[in-house]
């Protein structure tokens, strides 16, 4: 180690930190200050449309984690499947979104919300009543559904939020 730069390099570094002292912090104060997530966010829940679902179970087949369980019975009068049980174990779900992508009838949506922590694993298991689109409790996200995405608020972007300059720069 030789100080062949006479501490000039250290001095340059010190100016950078000093500049940051007068810049705006990048962080946001989370629970009070909420940023809009992406319109396509794959939140940790699924929203299921009872009307559109035909019970084909493509979602369950494609799920890499095997988190989706679907049981159907046949309704011979109307000639269709009746979904008796539609249950997703979000403890196993990795939010890959493949089920939403493959659904041929557009009956499955990723959820827009992301705060779904529970105290017990058993509380993470959701059945079709919890995930129903009609109940209005859950907002579907625009993942693979551009028409839903268009209605959601615009994502807060750090590139737009941050100005890298101190007040006088």
């Amino acid at each position: 180690m030789k100080f062949e730069r006479y501490g000039l390099g250290i001095g340059k570094g010190l100016t950078v930190t000093l500049k940051h002292l007068f810049r705006h912090p990048t962080v946001s104060q989370y629970p009070e200050q909420r940023l809009h997530t992406s319109r396509r966010i794959r939140g940790n829940e699924l929203v299921w449309d009872r009307q559109k679902c035909t019970g084909c179970a493509t979602c369950a087949k494609t799920c890499p984690q095997g988190a989706i369980e679907i049981i159907t019975s046949t309704d011979l009068v109307e000639n269709k499947y009746v979904v008796e049980k539609y249950q997703v174990d979000f403890g196993y779900c990795i939010q890959c979104g493949l089920c939403v992508e493959v659904c041929p009838y557009g009956a499955l949506f990723m959820g827009y919300a992301y705060e779904r922590a529970q105290y017990r694993r058993s509380e993470l298991v959701e059945n079709k009543e919890d995930m129903m689109l009609e109940s209005g409790k859950k907002q579907p996200s625009g993942y693979f559904y551009p028409e839903i995405a268009a209605k959601l608020p615009r994502q807060t972007l750090l590139v737009e939020k941050i100005t890298e300059e101190a007040p006088w720069e």
């Binding site: 030789k2 100080f3 062949e4 930190t17």
Partner: protein, 374 residues
């Protein structure tokens, strides 16, 4: 130039106690001891808060801002939290050493504050050997830290303890030599006299090289960044206090920041003119200067990477020690040669000499030796 004061108590009138104070001065000692300890603890909290906010902003974060207005109560919350925590004692510790270590480390730090002049004579004891006392006592903390490292029976702690002993033993010398430069100018060892002697010019102007050496060596001695090898968290986890928790950890934390406050106070006293300053009250000037020194220390902390142990040692022995000796020699010559009252001539000369010496030493001397064949 200086008036040597002696006497244990020196408040206001240096010679005698006020006659109407009943019962001797023992109660008075106890009272002021408590006051000084309280001041130190409050300042340590303020320093912790300041460091966290400042580093937060420098890292484009916010820092603690939830507890109380602007997060001002955060240090108190931290203290409460750490006091209420379980004190975990590992199975294989060397019990007496492990338990004594925080106390051995803490006591010297507080004891030193007895001689720090917060105002003109506003100190617990204006020892006529003040600065010598500081130098002597300040090294004892290291024993406590070494005890912690040894007693924890943790290898990371042991490495940390060995590093800190090596660093303190080496850096004690440049520290003392640079203080000696100041003492030549003052002619007294009393801390209050040192401040009194800076009536016209603070010693940072007369002793720029001494100041730089004292600052660097002081940082190394109290193991602040960039010399924080003691608790190099990326290398040796938390160093000597890896195995400490609860109140024992809190004591080490207090030592760490208490030492930082102490170094700020010493730099203020020795080089920045202590409590001297216009308009504001004396104690406020002292605090402002100490906080300013701390600001610079935190600023360095937020910016610089850490040096390696061999570079740390080489910096002490190859860089600071010769420069401190040269500084002492120059100061001695100047004090002898220059007539009384013409010390201002020293200012340009010393600044020029400082620049030249640092350039020469930077160019010529290699620090650290890199790879070792094993």
């Amino acid at each position: 130039m200086a008036i040597a004061n002696s006497g244990l108590i020196n408040l206001g009138n240096p010679q005698t106690l006020p006659p109407d104070w009943p019962g001797g001065f023992w109660w008075h000692w106890v009272l002021f001891t408590i006051v000084i300890i309280a001041v130190v603890i409050v300042m340590v909290m303020a320093f912790i808060y300041m460091a966290r906010r400042q580093i937060g902003r420098m890292q484009s974060r916010v820092g603690p801002n939830r507890t109380g207005p602007f997060g001002l109560i955060q240090p108190i919350a931290d203290v409460l939290k750490v006091l209420l925590k379980e004190g975990i004692e590992p199975a294989n510790v060397d019990k007496p050493v492990y338990w004594l270590a925080p106390i051995v480390a803490l006591v010297p730090v507080f004891v030193i504050f007895a001689v720090v002049p917060f105002t003109d004579g506003g100190m617990l004891a204006d020892l006529n050997i003040g600065i010598l006392y500081v130098v002597a006592i300040s090294s004892i903390s290291t024993v406590g830290i070494f005890m912690a490292g040894w007693g924890s029976s943790n290898k990371f702690s042991l490495i940390s303890a060995m590093r800190v002993v090596a660093a303190v033993v080496s850096y004690e010398i440049p520290v003392v030599l640079s203080i000696a430069g100041v003492l030549l100018l003052v002619g007294s060892l009393s801390m209050n006299d040192i401040v009194l002697a800076q009536q016209d010019t603070p010693f940072i102007l007369l002793q720029p090289l001494g100041f730089i050496i004292f600052f660097i060596a002081g940082l190394a001695e109290i193991s602040r960044s960039p010399f924080d090898l003691l608790e190099a968290d990326s290398e040796i986890v938390a160093g000597f206090h890896t195995e400490y928790s609860g109140i024992k950890f809190a004591l080490f934390y207090l030592v760490e920041y208490g030492e930082a406050f102490l170094l700020s106070c010493l730099i203020t006293t020795l080089y920045l003119g202590g409590w001297r300053g216009p308009a504001l009250p004396e104690w406020l000037w002292f605090i402002v200067k100490a906080v300013l020194v701390w600001f610079v220390m935190v600023w360095l902390w937020a910016t610089l990477p850490r040096v390696r142990i061999d570079q740390l040692m080489a910096l002490a022995w190859k860089f600071l020690l010769p420069l401190a000796l040269i500084n002492l020699l120059i100061t001695a010559l100047q004090v002898l040669a220059l007539p009384e009252g013409s010390l201002w001539i020293m200012i340009p000369i010393n600044f020029a000499l400082t620049a030249v010496l640092i350039l020469v030493w930077s160019k010529l001397f290699k620090l650290g030796w890199g790879r070792v064949e094993v």
